[in-house]
């Protein structure tokens, strides 16, 4: 047990160290592509980590998490389109908009459980998708090009690849630290207790849905941040960012890495996106391999990568 725990800690430490040192390598070797790939990976890892907070720790299987990626992205894109380029305005708006959306759909969705919850979150995300498609002023179906990245004055230059990379990494590590603090707080204990036995927690006297809702909103807000980063990374935001397959991708990343493990989503995202990248270099039909691989992972590798590294699966 302790030996396997060590392997896990070592691997996580190696991954974090690798991510921290990556720009040094790419600058020295001139391999800009690697930096681009990993910037994207880090942003998605932040989104997956936020999903893990409600899915892994809270037991709330949201199938509409990509909606926040779109909302955060559109907040940045629409403000930039209207001539407000300051990141000090764009980013708080992105966070507040995501939080409000999470508050509304959470309040409605949390009245249901199980598959109904999966489906209603999916339905709300699809609604957001159709709203974005209907925004004719902001590109509609075709999406919105962002001509200038968020402007943070002299603080940081988002157009500089290395600076942007470190900003994303900072957000990811900050997000994971926040989730770690939440999970180990009294609040987090209650939310995890709700996952294990809702009726008992209710009998003890906890306002069940209020705890769940707060957790849901925190998760949505973190994912909104990922959306703002993603829009800046691609200089573009489109309804496709919130299509339901994107929500599915996020779920896959979390489950692949291991639900309810702090660094699991990061490992899962790295594995999923690198695999996608590698397979698409190798063949145009990468999903032909990826699809059955997912099936095999579900069938034979329960607990995800983190589970394989020796963490016993929770019962």
């Amino acid at each position: 047990m302790s030996a396997s725990l060590n392997t896990r800690t070592i691997i996580v430490a190696l991954v974090v160290a690798g991510l921290l040192l990556l720009p040094v390598y790419t600058t020295l070797s001139g391999n800009v592509f690697g930096l681009t790939v990993f910037t994207r990976i880090i942003i998605y890892a932040l989104a997956a980590a936020s999903l893990n907070l409600i899915m892994g720790y809270g037991g709330m299987m949201s199938f509409g998490h990509a909606a926040y990626l779109g909302i955060g992205g559109y907040a940045v894109g629409i403000l930039a389109h209207e001539g407000i380029g300051s990141g000090f305005i764009q980013w708080p708006v992105a966070l507040v908009a995501s939080a409000l959306f999470a508050l509304v759909i959470g309040a409605l969705s949390l009245r249901t459980r199980g598959v109904y919850f999966i489906m209603i979150t999916l339905a709300f995300a699809q609604m957001a998708y159709y709203v974005a498609s209907g925004l004719a002023r902001y590109g509609g179906d075709d999406g919105l090009t962002i001509y200038k990245r968020s402007d943070f004055g002299g603080l940081i230059d988002l157009s500089n690849r290395v600076q942007f990379y470190y900003l994303c990494l900072f957000c990811l590590l900050g997000g994971i630290y926040l989730i770690w603090r939440i999970v180990n707080s009294r609040f987090g204990m209650v939310v995890q207790g709700l996952r294990s036995n809702e009726r008992r927690m209710q009998a003890i006297g906890f306002p069940v849905n209020r705890y769940r809702l707060v957790c849901f909103v925190i998760s949505g807000t973190i994912c909104g941040l990922a959306g703002a980063l993603l829009a800046n990374n691609t200089d573009f935001v489109s309804p496709a960012a919130m299509y339901w397959t994107r929500s599915g991708d996020l779920m896959v990343m979390v489950i692949l890495g291991g639900m309810g493990s702090l660094f699991g989503p990061v490992l899962g995202t790295i594995a999923f996106l690198l695999l996608e990248e590698a397979l698409s270099q190798f063949t145009e039909y990468w999903a032909l391999v990826m699809g059955p691989m997912l099936l095999l992972i579900v069938l034979f590798a329960r607990g995800g990568i983190d589970g394989m590294l020796g963490r016993p699966r929770r019962g």
Partner: protein, 305 residues
């Protein structure tokens, strides 16, 4: 008035088509407790098989029948090889595994049939307009869809409620250990149910194919609609699926047809024409949200357990 009748029939036709898809989904879900996201892929495969077999045999009916058989077979193979090992897992594992299947099917189709869509031409006898009332014509093919779907719905009701195999299916839904203990081969029963669901999805796909083009990803949007329907209707309830499907088909069709004009009464013309498509797409999800908030178990919950 003419337009209203026509749109009404279009809504009915779309609703019945959705029912075929939702019935398979709700059967598999209600009986095996299995969430099958790949149901839309079976719908797509039905359409692709039909386009291939019709071109191959040169006969629409024969091609359609062959396609139906092929989808049934595909469903059975899929269940036998992969999905039966997932029944005692939680729903999240189902979602993940069948999400993988969607990826696989989409790329497999792209590899075999190419990225461009296919067309499924109708035979001449199905393209003539049919006079349903004096002066009111309606495409014969759409009427045929309504007829076939109604017959299949009745047949399904008869099989599930009035035959021995239907009794076993219903018994399996309420207590699978007990029916296994009584000596019924529950695994075979599940395989059959899954195959039946696949065939229904294939039927919906091949009937829809001549109206729309046969293309990759055609099953995904309609799958979400089918899920909305079974959630509104109450998971596991065929009757609920039927009523909800008609309801959703009507709202979708009538919303698309009349909402732009309605909006124009209150909004400026340009604002209405941009808002209407988004709003009519949203209507269904809005309906589902309202139903779930008011009755979290759906409108007609199947009295399971």
């Amino acid at each position: 008035m003419l337009l209203v009748i026509e749109q009404f029939l279009n809504g009915l036709q779309f609703g019945l088509l959705l029912f075929l898809l939702a019935a398979g989904l709700t059967l598999v879900f209600g009986i095996m407790d299995f969430v099958n996201l790949a149901h839309g892929s079976l719908y797509m495969m039905g359409a692709y098989f039909a386009a291939t077999f019709v071109a191959w045999t040169g006969n629409f009916i024969l091609g359609a029948l062959l396609a139906l058989g092929a989808t049934l077979l595909l469903g059975i193979v899929l269940e036998f090889v992969a999905l039966r090992h997932l029944y005692n897992r939680d729903h999240l594992d189902h979602v993940l595994a069948t999400f993988g299947l969607i990826l696989f099917f989409n790329d497999a189709v792209r590899l075999i049939w190419g990225p461009a869509g296919l067309a499924l031409p109708l035979p001449p006898w199905l393209t003539v307009p049919f006079q349903i009332m004096p002066g009111v014509y309606y495409p014969a093919y759409r009427l045929a869809i309504i007829g076939v779907a109604l017959v299949v719905a009745l047949l399904l009701y008869f099989v599930v409620m009035r035959t021995r195999i239907g009794m076993l299916i219903r018994a399996g839904a309420s207590n699978r250990e007990m029916i296994g203990a009584l000596g019924i081969n529950i695994k075979l029963l599940y395989t059959l149910v899954f195959g039946l669901g696949a065939a229904l999805a294939g039927l919906a796909g091949l009937m829809q194919a001549p109206i729309l083009t046969v293309q990759i990803g055609m099953g995904e949007n309609i799958l979400i609609l089918a899920f909305v329907i079974i959630v509104i209707g109450g998971i596991g309830s065929i009757r609920g699926a039927f009523l909800a499907a008609i309801f959703v088909g009507m709202i979708d069709t009538l919303g698309r047809a009349f909402l732009p004009d309605l909006l124009r009464q209150v909004l400026s013309s340009t604002a209405a024409s941009t808002a209407a498509p988004a709003l009519s797409s949203m209507l269904i999800y809005l309906l589902m949200a309202i139903v779930l908030v008011v009755r979290p178990e759906g409108l007609f919950p199947a009295g399971r357990r």
